[in-house]
C-alpha cells in the first residue's frame, strides 16, 4: 500500500516534471534515424500460470543506444531477456527485434544478436580459443574473428589456457568475446559485471562503451546497480515487480533527480525563516522545526544560510534530503 502511494506520487512528480522530455523522447524514437531495435508490446509472463512475473511490459530500445535495464533482483529482468532471446515461450504480447516479429523470424534475428545471460556459458575443459571455435562454427563466421575478439577483450595471451583456469573476470570477458564473434548489431548483456572486482567492472564498462562508440552496437545491459548504469547508459528502463516504472533517456532520469532533491533546514523559528526565504526560493514544505527548499547548488545553500543568520534565525542543521537518484531508485523499488 505504502509502496503504491510512493510510486504514484513519484509517477505524478515525474509526469509533472518531465512532460517536455517525454515529448522529446517520443520525437527521437519515432525519428527514422533512430528506429527501435527492440520493441515489446504488452508483454505478460507467468510461470505455470502462477504469479505474474511480467506485467504489460513495453520496452523501447532505440538503435545505437546503451539501454540500462535496471531493477532489483527478482524484478523480471532475466525473464524479459530470456523472452527476447526465445529461451522462454512468449505467452502474451509481441516481441519485435529489428522491426521483425521474433517468433516468426527466430533464426534471422538471432544471427544479428549477441548475448550473455547470467553467468558465462563456457566449456571449462576447453581452451578459450576452442570455446570460441565452437560458437564460431554455429555463427559461420570467418576464423580470423577469433583473434579479433580475443584482442578486443584482452585475452590474447590466455587464448590457449583452459577456461577452467580462468578467473571470473576472464571468463566473463571470454563470454563477451563469444557474444561478439559474429559482429552483432544488438548485444544483450544480463548483469555482465556480476561478481567482478572493481577493475573488472571498469574494464567491462569501457568495453561496452567502446563497442557502442566504434561499431554503433546497440546494447541492452541489465543491472541492479543504478550507479553502474548511470556511468554508461544513454537510455534507462526501470523495472520493478514486472512493471516498467520509467523509460527514457538518462538525462530525463537525471532531470527527475535534480527536481526532486531538496535541502532540509532545521531552524529556530520556522515562521521567520519562511518569510525570509520565500522571497528568494520556492519552499517545498514546512514540518515542525524543519523547512524543505528545492536544491539548486552548493553556493545557493551558503547564501541561504547567510540570509537566515543575518536575519536572526539560528540554523541548527542543513542537509540534502535523501532524494537523489540513488534514493529515488530505492524509493521506487524498496518495500
Amino acid at each position: 500500500m505504502l509502496l503504491r502511494c510512493k510510486i504514484n506520487r513519484l509517477i505524478q512528480n515525474f509526469k509533472a516534471i518531465s512532460s517536455p522530455f517525454q515529448i522529446n523522447f517520443r520525437a527521437t524514437s519515432s525519428n527514422s534515424m533512430n528506429p527501435l531495435v527492440i520493441e515489446t508490446q504488452h508483454l505478460n509472463f507467468s510461470f505455470n500460470g502462477g504469479q505474474k512475473i511480467l506485467k504489460d511490459l513495453s520496452l523501447k530500445v532505440p538503435k545505437a543506444s546503451i539501454y540500462g535495464f535496471l531493477g532489483p533482483n527478482g524484478a523480471g529482468k532475466t525473464t524479459t531477456i530470456r523472452l527476447l532471446l526465445g529461451l522462454l515461450k512468449t505467452q502474451s504480447g509481441i516481441i519485435s527485434l529489428f522491426g521483425k516479429d521474433f517468433v516468426k523470424n527466430r533464426i534471422p534475428v538471432l544471427r544479428r544478436v549477441g548475448s550473455l545471460i547470467e553467468q558465462p556459458s563456457l566449456y571449462p575443459h576447453l581452451s578459450g580459443k576452442e570455446n570460441l571455435e565452437i560458437f564460431r562454427l554455429s555463427y559461420q563466421c570467418d576464423r580470423k574473428r577469433i583473434g579479433e575478439v580475443l584482442d578486443l577483450v584482452g585475452l590474447k595471451d590466455a587464448a590457449n589456457k583452459k577456461a577452467k583456469a580462468y578467473s571470473l573476470g576472464m571468463k566473463q570477458r571470454l563470454a563477451i568475446a563469444v557474444s561478439l564473434l559474429h559482429e552483432p548489431e544488438l548485444l544483450i548483456l544480463d548483469e555482465p559485471t556480476n561478481g567482478l572486482d572493481p577493475t573488472g567492472i571498469i574494464e567491462t564498462r569501457e568495453l561496452i562503451k567502446k563497442l557502442n562508440r566504434e561499431f554503433g552496437t546497440t546494447i541492452i545491459v541489465s543491472s541492479h546497480m543504478l550507479a553502474e548504469v548511470e556511468k554508461m547508459a544513454t537510455h534507462v528502463g526501470i523495472i520493478n515487480k514486472g512493471k516498467l516504472l520509467f523509460q527514457g533517456e538518462l538525462s530525463e532520469l537525471q532531470q527527475l533527480k535534480s527536481k526532486s532533491s531538496a535541502i532540509e533546514l532545521e531552524v529556530s523559528n520556522t515562521t521567520r525563516a519562511r518569510e525570509i526565504l520565500q522571497e528568494h526560493l520556492p519552499l517545498k514544505k514546512v514540518n515542525g522545526t524543519k523547512i524543505q527548499v528545492a536544491y539548486e547548488s552548493r553556493e545557493r545553500n551558503g547564501e541561504m544560510n547567510q540570509m537566515l543568520v543575518q536575519n536572526g534565525v539560528q540554523v541548527y542543521q542543513m542537509a540534502v534530503t535523501q532524494n537523489d537518484l540513488e534514493n529515488l531508485f530505492i524509493q521506487i523499488t524498496s518495500e
Binding site: 515461450k89 533464426i107 544478436v113 563456457l122 575443459h125 576447453l126 554455429s138
Partner: protein
C-alpha cells in the same frame, strides 16, 4: 541448411573432446578385449583347450558375451547422459539456444554425435579384439590365431545387429537426458530398466522391451526384436523432437 548442420555437428564433436563421454568410449571399448587378452596370455592352461578350433570366433563371441548383455547398454546409457550433461553442467544450453540454430539442428546434431561415439566404441572394440588375438597368437603359439582366418562377416553382422539392438535405448535415454537436468535420474532409470530387462528375459513379451534387445541378439533369439528396436528408435526420436520444439523453457 545442410552446411549449417555439418558445421554444428562439428561444433558438437569439438565440445565432447576430452570429456568423460570421450574417455568412457575409449575405456568402455578397451575393457573387455584387454581383459580377455590378458586372461589368454596369463592362463593358457585354462583357455588353450577350448580354443583349438576357430579361435577367432570363440574369442569374438567370448568378448561379446561379457559385453553385450550389460556393459554395452550400460555404456549407451552413460554416454548419452554424459553428452547431454555437458550442457547442463556448464549451464550452456541457454547459449546454444541463443545461437541462430534451428531446434532440429540442435536436437539432431547432438544425437548424431552420441551415435558417432557409440559407433567409434564398436569400431574400437572390434579393433582391439583383433589386436588382442594377434598379440596372443604372437606370444603363445599354442593358440592358433595366426593360422586361422578372421571371421570378418560374423564380426560385421554381429556388430551391426547389436548396434540396431541398442537404437531403441539411445532414443529413450536421449529424451530422458534432455528432459531431466539431474544426470542421476536418466542414469538410474536406465539402469533400473536394464536390470528389469535381464529379469524378464524368459517372458514371451520380452521382445517389446528395448532394454533386453542386446541380450536377445547375443543369444540369437530371432531378429523380430531388431525391427521393434527400429520402431522404438523412430517413434521416440520423433516424440523427443516434438517435445523439444514445444518446450516452454530452454536452458
Amino acid at each position: 541448411m545442410a552446411l549449417a548442420f555439418v558445421l554444428n555437428t562439428k561444433s558438437e564433436i569439438l565440445k565432447i573432446r576430452k570429456t568423460a563421454a570421450y574417455w568412457l568410449t575409449i575405456a568402455g571399448a578397451a575393457l573387455v578385449p584387454l581383459m580377455m587378452t590378458a586372461a589368454y596370455i596369463l592362463r593358457p592352461d585354462v583357455f588353450v583347450p577350448g580354443m583349438k578350433a576357430d579361435p577367432w570366433t570363440r574369442h569374438l563371441m567370448g568378448c561379446w558375451e561379457s559385453a553385450a548383455a550389460f556393459l554395452l547398454p550400460m555404456y549407451v546409457i552413460l554416454v548419452t547422459s554424459l553428452v547431454v550433461q555437458t550442457e547442463y553442467k556448464n549451464n550452456t544450453w541457454k547459449q546454444v539456444y541463443a545461437t541462430p540454430r534451428s531446434y532440429g539442428d540442435i536436437y539432431f546434431s547432438k544425437f548424431l554425435v552420441i551415435h558417432l561415439l557409440i559407433l567409434s566404441c564398436f569400431i574400437l572394440f572390434n579393433t582391439l579384439v583383433l589386436l588382442g588375438g594377434l598379440l596372443t597368437g604372437l606370444l603363445n603359439a599354442d593358440y592358433h590365431f595366426l593360422e586361422s582366418t578372421v571371421p570378418w562377416k560374423t564380426m560385421l553382422i554381429l556388430g551391426s545387429k547389436l548396434y540396431v539392438s541398442i537404437l531403441g535405448i539411445t532414443a529413450i535415454q536421449y529424451w530422458l537426458s534432455l528432459r531431466l537436468k539431474n544426470y542421476i535420474m536418466p542414469l538410474g532409470i536406465g539402469l533400473a530398466l536394464l536390470i528389469t530387462g535381464l529379469i524378464i528375459l524368459r517372458w514371451d513379451k520380452v521382445i517389446y522391451f528395448p532394454y533386453a534387445y542386446t541380450t536377445l541378439t547375443y543369444i540369437k533369439a530371432g531378429n523380430k526384436h531388431e525391427y521393434y528396436s527400429l520402431i522404438w528408435f523412430a517413434v521416440i526420436t520423433m516424440l523427443g523432437f516434438i517435445d523439444t520444439i514445444n518446450r516452454k523453457e530452454r536452458g
